[in-house]
Every structure is written in C-alpha cells, then in structure tokens.
C-alpha cells in the first residue's frame, strides 16, 4: 500500500512539474491595455472622448496614421481623482509599435505635460508612424498626475512590413541628419566596452593570484600587510590615474566633437487652446437614473427643455467611449469600433422632435452588452455611485449640440 502511495505521490509531483513547464510554452500576447479594468466612474466622469477618428486600419512600416478627435474634461470630475492640472496626452499601444511622430492639442504640439481646465473641450490629434508589424489595439489616452492613466476608446490597427526597414530620420540644429533608431549606438557600445575592459583588467590583476582561502588565513594571522605589495600599489596608482586621464580626455574630445549641446527640455505647457462647441440651447435635468443589472440597461428619466429656435431630437448617449445611438436620428459613419458602438442601443420613450420652447419628460434607455463587456456595470460597486456622459441632440438641419449629464445611479437587481 505504501509503495502505491509513494508512486502516486511521485507521479503527481511529476505531473505537476510537467504542467507547470508546459504552461511556460503558452504565453499569449497581452494586446489590450486593461481598459475594462479601470474603475467605471473614472472612465465615465473624467475625460470624455468623442468624434474620434483612426485614419487607417492598416499601415505599412514607415507610413503614418492619425488619431484625432475631441475630449471633454468633465466638469463633475470626481473628488477621488486629482484634477488634470498636470496631464499628458499619451497613446495606448503595447510599447513603441508606432513612434509618436507628433501630438497636438488645439493645434499646439504637446511633447510635454499640459494643464487642462475642467468643463472645457479640446481638439487633439496624434500622428503615429508605423514601426513594428502586428495587430495592435490603439487607444487615445490621457495621463493625469495623481489620477493615473485615463484610457480612451481603442481600435485594432494592423502594421504590415518588416521592422528592419524602419527608419527614423531627424535633422539636428547643427545640420546633421541622423537615424534616431540607431544613432550613437556604436559610440555607446564602444565606451561601455572600453570601460568593461579596464574594469576586467583591474579585476584579473587580483584574481590571477590565490584569492580567498590564503588571503583570509593571512588576514586572520595578522599578516594582512604582506598581501599588498609596493608593485600592487603602483599598478593601483596607474589604474586610478589612467581612469582619470581617460575620463578627462574623453570628455574634452567629446566637447570638441559636439560643441553645441543643450539641456533636456522640460516644463508644463499652460493655456491650451480650447475648442468652442456650439452653445447648447437644450437643457437636460436627470430626474432619476437606474441601472437594471439583469437587462444590461441604464434607464434615465430626463426632463428636456428646448430653449433654441429649432426642434431637436436626442440621437446619442456617449459614456466611457461607448456610444448608444438612436438610428432614427443618427447613424455612425466613422467606422467607430464595433464593440464600443451600440447602433440601436438608445431608446427614447418619445423621440419626436422637441419643439422650440417645449419641455418634455422622457424615459431614455441605453442598453447593450457593452455595459457588461466593458465592465461599466461595475459602477454600482464604485465608492461614488454616479454616472455621467454626453448627450448629443440634432436639429432638423443636422446641427449637433452637446449636453452633459451627471447624476446618482441606483442599481436595480430585479
């Protein structure tokens, strides 16, 4: 019996080892950016991305594409997230599969951090140059100091070609055109090799002789002074002086070779140009809002007043990059990512044109699997259970206006 038990134990151990070893051979690529894991209230109440456009879905290496659009810095920014006084327009990609050839907010290049104002809309553009072939999920993204990365909608883009063909030519202010991909690499290798060689020479000078046991015996028996000879000291002096001479000479030679150098550039960019949306003539009051867990649907009771001079209809509810559309009013023509688009996800109890001066209370339902897929339903577990989003209204001439909503959300579990 004991023999059988031992055999089972041994085989189990071997099986465990084989399983663990086999697991190492299955390491799938992590292509996404954890956008679904980010707290729902952060995605709903911080940066609202809209009018996004990915200029291409397939790009050869060395070719460029852009992501452009607008973002609203939400006025009801949550207290638990630092305000975007120091922010950086980033791009959510798995490492430098593209290089960021340019990024602009309101037409201003933003290689550095910027200060954003709550309640304002900004227009942005990011120019990307394809570098590494593959299928990549490309997100808009805003990093906020003290708040973390706030990732926007992502779309799959394919880069074709070979990375070995990638070049990154840059012309310096001293008139030299270099390939930044490999610039100075030989110089890096050379100097590191030189210093490694010197260090190894110093080490081998000591390691060529007996090291630990005899030296320890000598030290323990009070003969430590015999271990360093006058010759050793001379060699040591040679290494120390040689080191300082090489450092000084190489620095001097470098200064001659590169007489024009500047410090790294840093600093916050303020006063970013905002984008002026057409002034909203529609006002919206959220009477109540519930999220029906079994139905994956959010229901809002809205009292809408049209203060403008033409009738309007509600066409879109946009929150956390998920767009719920009423196709009778608005259809997407921008090839927005399918998983973030609920083309028939918006239902309004009475979506007939709201006449100028009219006030109407309607039931609005935004329903789609995206609530679950994008874990927006987790909002009910957040510390500040409020939702927020953008409502887009269209008038008869096709003019659009944006209204923000921000209200408590009550979950319904039945």
């Amino acid at each position: 019996m004991k023999i059988i038990k031992d055999k089972v134990a041994k085989l189990s151990f071997v099986a465990l080892l084989i399983t663990m070893t086999a697991a190492m051979f299955y390491a799938p690529t992590a292509s996404a950016h954890g956008e679904k894991s980010q707290a729902a209230f952060m995605r709903m109440r911080t940066i609202h991305w809209f009018d996004l456009n990915w200029s291409k879905e397939e790009v050869p290496v060395n070719d460029t594409m852009t992501i452009s659009g607008k973002f609203l810095v939400f006025a009801g920014w949550p207290e638990t997230v630092d305000k975007p006084e120091v922010s950086f327009l980033n791009i959510g990609i798995p490492g430098p599969v593209f290089i960021r050839a340019g990024s602009w907010i309101g037409g201003q290049l933003v290689p550095r951090s910027v200060s954003l104002e709550l309640g304002e809309v900004y227009e942005f553009k990011v120019l990307l140059k394809a570098r590494r072939p593959g299928d990549w999920h490309v997100h808009s993204m805003m990093n906020v100091q003290g708040g973390g990365p706030i990732i926007g909608p992502g779309k799959w883009v394919t880069i074709t070609g070979s990375m070995s063909e990638f070049v990154n030519p840059v012309t310096t202010l001293t008139g030299q055109t270099i390939d930044l991909e490999t610039y100075g690499l030989d110089n890096v290798y050379f100097w590191h090799a030189v210093w490694f060689a010197i260090a190894i020479a110093w080490l081998m000078f000591w390691f060529k002789r007996p090291i630990f046991v005899p030296r320890h015996i000598a030290v323990s028996t009070g003969k430590a002074d015999t271990l360093i000879s006058a010759g050793d000291k001379k060699v040591g002096m040679l290494f120390a002086v040689g080191t300082m001479v090489i450092v000084a000479a190489s620095m001097g030679a470098t200064n001659e070779k590169y007489p024009v150098t500047t410090p790294l550039q840093a600093g916050l960019l303020r006063g970013m140009k905002t984008y002026q949306m057409p002034e909203a003539t529609v006002s919206v009051k959220v009477d109540d809002a519930t999220y029906r867990v079994p139905g994956r649907a959010m229901q809002m009771t809205l009292t809408i007043t049209n203060n403008g001079d033409s009738a309007v209809r509600l066409g879109e509810f946009n929150t956390a990059g998920v767009r719920f559309l009423d196709p009778a009013v608005h259809e997407d023509e921008t090839a927005y990512p399918d998983d973030l688009l609920a083309e028939e996800g918006l239902t309004v109890s009475d979506n007939s044109p709201l006449a100028p001066g009219e006030t109407r209370t309607v039931e609005v339902t935004a329903s789609d699997a995206a609530w679950e897929v994008y874990r927006l339903a987790d909002l009910i577990y957040d510390p500040d259970s409020r939702f927020a989003g953008l409502l887009f209204f269209w008038d008869e001439s096709g003019n659009r206006q944006l209204v923000t909503v921000d209200a408590p959300l009550i979950p319904s579990f039945i």
């Binding site: 791009i91 490492g95 990365p149 990375m163 001293t174 210093w195 000591w206 090489i246 790294l264 840093a266």
Partner: protein, 249 residues
C-alpha cells in the same frame, strides 16, 4: 575518513582546491551582488538609468552616484577587511552593469523593442576603480569615504558624457526645440511612463547658469561620502561570522 584527517593529500592538491573555491565563491559573489545590487539600483535609480531623456545635468548626476555607491561600499568592507582585496567596488559595478546590459538588451529591446540607444545603462566603472584604489592605498574607511566617495560622485558625469553628449544635440521639431534624447522619449511611446513623471531639470539650482552639472556632481559626491560610511558599516556587519562557532569576529 575522520574529521581530523585532511580532505587533500598534497600541497598541490590544496592549491588546486583553493583555486576552485576561489572561482566558486567569486561566481557566487558576482551573481548575488548582480541580483541584489540590480534590484536596489532599479528601485532607487530606476528611470534615471533606464531612459536617456532622464539623464539630465541635475538629478541624474545627483541621484545615480548616491544610490549606486551603496553595494560597492558594502562589498568593499567585506573583501577588504577580510581578504585585503581592493576590488569590491569594481566587482559590484561590473556585476551591476552586466545585469543591466542583459536586462536592457533582453527586456527593453528584445521584448518591448525600445532602441538600445535609448535605454543603455549609465557607466559607473571609473568611480568604482578609483574607489578601490583609494581604499587600497589608504587602507582607511574614512579616507575612502571622503576621497573615494567624492571622486565617485565627481567622475560620474564626465565618465558618461562621451555617450550622452551626442544625444544632447538640439533639434527643432514642429516648432519646438528639444534634444535628441527628449525626442527619443517622445517618439518611443511609454504608455506607463507619462512625461510628467520625468524628474529632470527640477530644483532651485539656478544661480550657476548653464554650469549646474559640476555643482550637482559635487553635491552628489558629498552625499556619497555619507552613504559610503553607512553602507560600509552594513558590509562589515553582514561580513561578520558570528554564526560560526569559535570565530566571533
């Protein structure tokens, strides 16, 4: 064989065993220092050493020597006071830089495709050699801390300048001036490292015009002196053999 009998049968064999021990201990020491020092340096020096657009004339110059003189001081304490071997700093730094190169090449380039000219490690070897030589010549912890520690801080920036200078050549890019290192940081997207995390050119050291690097280096050297003392004592404490009976030195 009883415990009183020797494990070797001749002097030649004893020498051979001793040399084998040497290389085994040296290998173990090297790999252990490589691991410990590497983790320490990544946690404390981290981004300043990872990216060229962090290697500025103020904070990089200040931080890197201060946080990197630690293990050299500790390993020196062990190797010098126990074996009179003046190689502790150099062994440590060579181990660290080898580990860093493996990391930068395998991980930063091999896995995530950041160009090596953007992520190469800092050169710490000149300061380490001088630190070892000062200890050997002076046979004094205090002298090594004061002279060697200061030299360690002072040699760092010029020792790296031949590699860094080409990346500080200015470029005009879409209407803004930046260095090639800045441009590397901008071009090669780091999703998890936004620009505001970059701690460069910060501080109040503004009265020296463009010549702040020597001032930063001196400051770094002074603090390195203190850190050297601290870690030298750590090294001596860890090199004790209290756990071996009859040898409580």
């Amino acid at each position: 064989m009883s415990a009183s009998q020797s494990a070797v049968r001749s002097r030649a064999e004893a020498v051979q065993v001793s040399r084998t021990f040497d290389w085994m201990i040296l290998f173990t020491l090297f790999v252990t220092v490589l691991g410990g020092y590497h983790i320490h340096y990544m946690l404390t020096g981290g981004d300043w050493d990872f990216w060229t657009d962090w290697k500025d004339r103020r904070l990089w110059v200040t931080v890197a020597p201060i946080v990197s003189i630690t293990f050299p001081a500790a390993v020196q304490a062990c190797l010098w006071w126990r074996y009179k071997l003046p190689v502790g700093a150099t062994v440590s730094v060579v181990a660290l830089m080898l580990g860093e190169w493996i990391n930068r090449y395998m991980n930063f380039w091999g896995w995530t495709y950041f160009p090596v000219n953007f992520v190469f490690p800092s050169n710490l070897i000149p300061g380490a050699i001088v630190l070892d030589v000062v200890l050997m010549l002076g046979n004094s912890m205090t002298l090594t801390a004061v002279v060697g520690g200061l030299a360690y801080g002072l040699l760092f920036y010029p020792g790296n300048w031949p590699v860094i200078a080409p990346l500080h050549v200015p470029v005009e890019y879409n209407g803004m001036m930046m260095t090639l290192a800045d441009l590397q940081g901008y071009h090669y997207v780091r999703t998890g490292t936004p620009e505001y995390i970059r701690m460069v050119e910060k501080g109040t050291l503004r009265t020296f015009g463009k010549d702040v690097a020597p001032v930063s280096a001196f400051f770094s050297g002074f603090v390195s002196i203190i850190i050297y003392f601290l870690w030298h004592f750590f090294g001596r404490w860890f090199a004790k053999t209290d756990f071996i009976a009859d040898d409580a030195s």
